[in-house]
């Protein structure tokens, strides 16, 4: 494990610890290529990252077409939980999976700061 991905993973785990109901996270490049994930076995995180990029792209286009401004995140709520996709700067995105009791208000509060820190990690030049 590279130290950069170690720091990314630490950010993801911290977010999972802080927000009740967050079960899995994946960070990907903006085009959907997986960078790192903190997910249980059985979740195909590579496909998830690709789908998240597609979902974020669709939401962004819909927002642009209707003059809604800057996209903060997409939230999909299901009977058994949530799939939230949030941009990380201009280069990445984060997918958050949560159970049906996930504290969505706290996630909104915590995830932007986490995304900003992840953006700095992703944008930092390689040693």
């Amino acid at each position: 494990m590279s130290s950069e991905n170690g720091e990314l993973l630490a950010e993801m785990r911290a977010l999972r610890e802080r927000v009740a109901g967050v079960t899995d996270l994946a960070v990907a490049a903006v085009d959907g290529l997986l960078i790192t994930a903190d997910a249980e076995e059985g979740i195909d995180t590579e496909s998830l990252a690709a789908l998240a990029a597609a979902a974020l792209g669709l939401a962004r286009r819909a927002g642009q077409a209707t003059g809604k401004g800057l996209l903060h995140r997409t939230v999909a709520q299901f009977s058994h939980g949530y799939v939230v996709v949030q941009p990380i700067g201009r280069m990445g995105l984060m997918t958050v999976l949560g159970d049906s009791g996930m504290d969505i208000a706290r996630l909104h509060t915590e995830s932007q700061a986490a995304a900003d820190r992840m953006d700095r990690l992703l944008a930092a030049p390689q040693p």
């Binding site: 590279s2 991905n5 170690g6 009740a20 959907g32 290529l33 249980e40 049906s100 009791g101």
Partner: protein
């Protein structure tokens, strides 16, 4: 009040438990008007909302404990299709509960019991966590699935207090919201023993969910079972050496590194068809490789040519 966070692997400090239950009791007991209607919002972690109608508690919602919908759906007691149909039919006028009974999905007494248990569990989760303060908003309250006959707030607090005391007495101690549990080698031996082992079906299910990433709260949501019941069962499994509290730093699988080639922990049959790039850009983002994401396998795109192909061409 700002309470200290609990250390990993230990139950909440006694001061937090006492203060949380005390603040809740005070807030409920000192509500103006004697028999208020409204919402009592408890700020904290996980916090929650008590719904009050004419002095009785109709529901307690908290991210820390499964609500009635989760209990019914995750346990398989009610199918998602039936649930959605009942919700749609009962949406106007908050009649979801009546619809569930009318459709023979639940008995009237069972509905009251489920709502009472969910409210108890919600109050337990709120009180077992950190309570920063309470705010009461009086006025008509709406909830999609209130307890038909309500829950006596005095009894609710008394029972919550009893559960908190039981939680404090658990040996070894276990925090239902923060401690994450993994199964031990002894658990694998017990599972291998099958029916001859000590594991009943419910215990085996809980044990199967203890993957080192989940807390008692997470397992309760996963199985659609009450938080308190799962916490007590996990404490027993802990005492028997079948589960262990996993330190936060070691929770989770080995990380995945897309740019590094090898991907331990990834269960994917797909592999990137193109060789990895020879160099990396200035940042740490991986370089896009055609077909690497596997999106085409997931969505099964048809090509533009295929979409517009005329029938006689095929």
């Amino acid at each position: 009040m700002t309470a200290p966070r609990p250390a990993a692997g230990s139950a909440l400090p006694a001061v937090v438990r006492t203060d949380a239950a005390g603040r809740l009791a005070t807030a409920l007991a000192t509500t103006p008007g004697g028999h208020p209607s409204g919402t009592l919002t408890v700020l904290g972690d996980p916090g929650g909302v008590f719904h009050l109608a004419a002095g009785v508690v109709t529901a307690v919602d908290s991210p820390g404990a499964p609500d009635v919908a989760t209990l019914l759906l995750r346990s398989g007691r009610v199918s998602t299709t039936d649930w959605e149909a009942a919700c749609r039919a009962g949406a106007a006028g908050d009649r979801t509960g009546a619809e569930l009974v009318a459709r023979d999905l639940l008995g009237a007494a069972e509905l009251q019991l489920m709502c009472t248990m969910a409210a108890l569990d919600g109050a337990f989760a709120v009180a077992a966590g950190r309570v920063d303060g309470c705010t009461l908003a009086c006025g008509p309250t709406r909830h999609h699935l209130p307890a038909p006959q309500g829950v006596d707030p005095e009894w609710l607090l008394h029972e919550t207090d009893r559960r908190l005391r039981a939680l404090a007495a658990l040996r070894p101690p276990l925090c239902p919201l923060r401690d994450r549990l993994g199964s031990t080698a002894g658990a694998h031996r017990e599972a291998g023993a099958g029916q001859a082992g000590r594991l009943s079906g419910e215990r085996r299910e809980i044990l199967r969910c203890a993957d080192g990433r989940r807390s008692a709260r997470d397992i309760a949501f996963r199985l659609g079972r009450g938080l308190y019941a799962v916490t007590v069962e996990l404490s027993r499994l802990l005492a028997e050496g079948l589960v262990e509290v996993v330190p936060p730093a070691s929770a989770g699988p080995v990380p995945l590194t897309a740019a590094a080639g090898g991907r331990p922990g990834v269960t994917s049959a797909r592999r990137p068809p193109d060789p990895p790039p020879l160099h990396q850009p200035a940042g740490r983002l991986p370089i896009r490789r055609r077909g690497a994401s596997g999106i085409n396998d997931v969505l099964a795109w048809r090509s533009a040519a295929g979409r517009h192909r005329r029938a006689r061409d095929t």
